[in-house]
Symmetry: C2
Subunit: 458 residues, 2 copies
């Protein structure tokens, strides 16, 4: 594009969304490329901030006409470089589409704008005596559109599913500006292809989500929480299964902690260890229930201890103790303090998790100067690794140790973070050629000129 054409194009966008809706120059460079790249300025030609679906559609149509590609931008808290821009691209920010309509208390639904934060939706639900179950550390910045586009997971997937399960309907703008609105608040609607599924988890490559109808739930009545130690992860899985049976699927978290992780988090001066540090496997288990069910939970753990499935257990007997237990899982800063910075997010079938972790730990131990710990939402098949950051060769060796075994084990290189740019090279470990070809067919059908978030995923 010539300078004159560029000026005319930006003026056209200003005509569509107002002068304040187009951010360029110093103001734009003052924004970081993303949360993971705080020192790197946003590289786009312009950041455009439409106020609604109609403006989003007009911007997309104008970009299509000018041959300009568009990168969506929500809370910018993603971890896989899914919103990085090139200097000839527009980044379309959802920051002015933050409206949340009144909660429908009978249907237990709420309509939210794509730019509304997860925290704002949680708050709107709470104000109506209801509960929006999606939760993640970035709740104050992550948006409805961003969590739909990445099919966010987080802390309660075991009980409530991922963001996909919380979206009843949505509205999206396609690459040519077409608005596809499927804003029905229905649980059941078998009328052909469920279009919202095209936009959930596809990282803005098929359409830009502008609004959604979200499903709410009753507020949890309370919790029982315990830290347990087991002979191994398979025993942990048995505990999970027994607890799911005893409490009819109300286990809301089951977080596995391998011993090196537990020891790191409970070093002297860090969190207090509720159990000794020399067990082979730990897990935090939390069940949603009313207070009078606590005794049944104790009985369950007693039975599992008698059977040898559980070696030791500590129950949280107050909210303070519960929070202290969760800090053992959540305090990322302890890993940072030990220089274990590089974070990984993978899925492994539960039945093969033990073999995978044992094998990967052995490979990682053979890499000079590499330290690694592993933990995760094992009830969801989801493991997180944190490792030392080494030189390029060392990092490649770490990547290989963690990612390569996944192909054969039928695992996934991304459980909940997505692919973006960061994991593009690893997609082939989790997806066959036929699968990637099928995805490309759909991409080409909806975005034939490859104008929506091009280069992301594949």
């Amino acid at each position: 594009m010539t300078d004159a054409a560029q000026t005319a194009f930006l003026d056209r966008l200003r005509g569509l969304v107002g002068a304040s809706g187009v951010v360029t120059g110093e103001e734009l460079r003052g924004r970081p490329a993303s949360w993971t790249r705080p020192a790197e300025p946003c590289a786009a030609l312009a950041l455009v901030r439409p106020r609604d679906t109609a403006e989003t559609s007009a911007v997309m149509a104008a970009c299509a006409e000018a041959g300009v590609s568009v990168v969506p931008r929500g809370g910018a808290t993603g971890l896989v470089d899914g919103i990085l821009c090139a200097p000839d691209q527009i980044t379309l920010s959802t920051e002015r589409m933050t409206g949340i309509e009144p909660v429908d208390p009978l249907a237990m639904t709420v309509v939210a704008g794509t730019g509304a934060t997860v925290e704002a939706v949680q708050g709107a639900a709470r104000a109506a005596g209801l509960f929006f179950p999606l939760d993640l550390g970035a709740r104050g910045s992550a948006t409805v559109g961003g969590t739909i586009s990445t099919n966010a997971g987080g802390l309660r997937v075991l009980r409530y599913g991922m963001m996909r399960e919380m979206v009843l309907g949505l509205e999206a703008v396609l690459a040519d500006g077409t608005v596809v609105s499927s804003m029905r608040p229905l649980i059941k609607n078998n009328t052909g292809l469920d279009l919202k599924q095209l936009f959930v988890g596809t990282e803005g490559t098929l359409g830009l989500v502008t609004r959604a109808v979200l499903r709410l739930r009753p507020e949890p009545a309370g919790y029982v929480t315990a830290l347990i130690a087991c002979p191994g992860v398979d025993d942990g899985a048995r505990v999970l299964r027994a607890a799911q049976a005893a409490f009819q699927g109300r286990v809301s978290s089951f977080e596995g902690l391998w011993p090196d992780f537990y020891r790191l988090m409970t070093k002297p001066g860090r969190e207090t260890p509720p159990l000794p540090q020399d067990y082979p496997f730990y897990a935090i288990i939390e069940v949603e229930c009313v207070p009078e069910e606590a005794e049944r939970f104790h009985d369950l753990l007693d039975g599992l201890m008698t059977a040898g499935t559980v070696l030791d257990a500590a129950l949280a007997s107050s909210e303070e103790q519960r929070q202290a237990m969760w800090r053992i899982r959540d305090r990322v800063e302890h890993m940072n303090a030990d220089g274990i910075h590089r974070a990984f997010d993978v899925s492994v079938p539960l039945a093969r998790m033990d073999a995978y972790v044992t094998g990967a730990l052995a490979r990682l131990a053979a890499i000079p100067d590499c330290r690694a710990v592993v933990y995760g939402h094992i009830g969801d098949n989801n493991l997180h690794w944190n490792t030392t950051r080494l030189d390029a060769a060392g990092n490649t060796a770490i990547d290989a140790a963690i990612y390569e075994p996944l192909a054969e084990l039928n695992g996934s290189v991304s459980a909940e973070h997505g692919i973006g740019l960061e994991k593009r090279g690893k997609l082939g470990l989790s997806r066959s050629g036929a699968e990637i070809a099928a995805m490309r067919l759909v991409k080409r059908a909806l975005d034939p000129d490859n104008r929506l978030n091009p280069g992301k995923i594949f």
Copy 2:
């Protein structure tokens, strides 16, 4: 196709699946077109029964080469003419792909062939001490592939979701014979488009499902069941919400029965009415819980009666009483005996259900000789109507009374049955032009020659 070409084509198919794998002539005409058309013979050129994914792929490739279109056939229990064939089409039956692999008790998953019945999967789960929640009247015939392709709902959607939520992975054959295998048993796998969503609920128009990884659950510990009467459906919705809160989402059924339906089912000589017949609205509520929670359920109903949300209630105090209550909902034969044969399946947002039912009942009452009753899974937004069968003009008037208001109310012309051929003309009441156009883009991308179940849905 000339007779000679046809013979050569059928011989080619026999070469691919064996002589017994290709059914033609009298043997084929002995099979009904579908369960709803028992007297009408299957009209296809041939019924082909591949034994596995590879044979299915070879058959599809041969059909593509010969320009022959293919109609999938599972248990043939669908209700919307989704498997009707023309004489120049092949119908691909899944009846020889019924294998079920051993249940994975830790991961709580099972791999089933597309032709396995729902009942067989339920049995395999039960034998492993687990539970496959999908359930519907046709369980003994309906198949894994059929229930995936129609995204079957049934009796436990409120608690466990539809078939979509039970499929972790699947394998499908595209129109050109390409096998797309996504058989991972993972709950979390954010690696681009979730391909299985293309095949769930699309009635075999995008691919033929050959296998699936299904998610199992713990077996329910028990139930409490009650028939309640309320001032109206909105009060029913309040009861549902209160019960979901009190029992943390474990309400497994909430079936609304409008008074004409209740009176029809509890006529003298039919089911015994547990409550008087003159209340404005009834519901059967069932909660999954352990026996010691029954008292909490009684307290909940007491509180709701004091508040006037519930007018009257009858509790099932034995399994026999529970079954008797469910017969009031399930005994279709009582409607048949009264000549109320025509069945409808629609969705309406809960907040607008009262207005919808009141309006539609008034329109139906104005149609000469029309009788109609209404009931349904109201917790899922799903209503079923049964009406008299009249002449063509009368039936059109009934259709209009039931379907037409749905467009404005943001409802759906098909909650759980699908579109098939039967509801094709109604699709536009539930889907906008932009939505149908987007579906067509995907259809064209995956099946450019319109060879998979052509003419179904749209």
